[in-house]
């Protein structure tokens, strides 16, 4: 019963490339989130969306943008990838105002 899926488990990109990370949830959740996970820093929120076409910046939005054209899909975009964006990226979703986030398996992105 997979609920939150991410398009890739591993991704290797070059500096300057445009990178798309896709997340899909099948639980009809209103809220979706993108976090990055780094050793010693825990999870840091990049962006979140509480409805289609709605988005809000998290704690570390610089260098990222997002797109939510459909309720089930939330995309994270790195306009010009840099080596300091090498990280594990986690997508999550939750019902509006209640519930706890359900996480995807993560995408490990390496920028060389």
């Amino acid at each position: 019963d997979v609920k939150v899926t991410q398009s890739s488990r591993y991704l290797v990109k070059r500096t300057g490339e445009k990178v798309f990370l896709e997340c899909v949830q099948d639980m009809d959740h209103e809220n979706m989130f993108w976090y990055r996970q780094d050793p010693g820093l825990g999870l840091r929120l990049i962006y979140f969306s509480y409805d289609v076409k709605m988005k809000e910046k998290g704690d570390i939005p610089e260098g990222y943008s997002v797109s939510r054209e459909k309720k089930e899909r939330f995309s994270l975009i790195l306009e010009s990838a840099s080596t300091n964006q090498t990280s594990m990226y986690l997508c999550a979703s939750t019902l509006h105002g209640t519930g706890t986030p359900e996480f995807g398996p993560g995408t490990r992105l390496t920028v060389t």
């Binding site: 010693g40 820093l41 999870l43 998290g58 999550a92 706890t100």
Partner: protein
């Protein structure tokens, strides 16, 4: 600013020993608190939430509003408890969880 602190990056105990993973938060309101766990090569998953006051896999956590703490405890650690643990407060009606930096628990045989 809202903040959550997990002071230990690594906690190493022997099997059968008690374990306590510390979590302190700074917030003047009434947050809802969660512990998440990530086992090796698995996705992050909810371990427990304070409002349910339940015990999951032998773990419990008590919210201490006076000390603004939500420490995770287990009386007898098992090797399968080895994982990364994150404390995460949710502030009032906010959509988002704030995660601590995590504590890696290593239970040795």
């Amino acid at each position: 600013a809202q903040r959550v602190t997990q002071p230990e990056k690594l906690l190493s105990v022997f099997k059968g020993a008690p374990v306590e993973l510390k979590c302190n938060y700074s917030y003047s309101g009434s947050p809802e608190l969660f512990w998440y766990v990530q086992y090796s090569r698995q996705r992050l998953q909810l371990l427990l939430r304070h409002i349910s006051r339940e015990s999951i896999k032998g773990f419990t956590a008590d919210l201490n509003k006076g000390e603004t703490s939500f420490h995770l405890k287990k009386p007898f650690a098992q090797e399968e408890d080895s994982a990364m643990y994150y404390c995460a407060p949710k502030m009032d009606s906010s959509y988002k969880l704030i995660f601590g930096s995590g504590t890696r628990l290593l239970v040795r045989p």
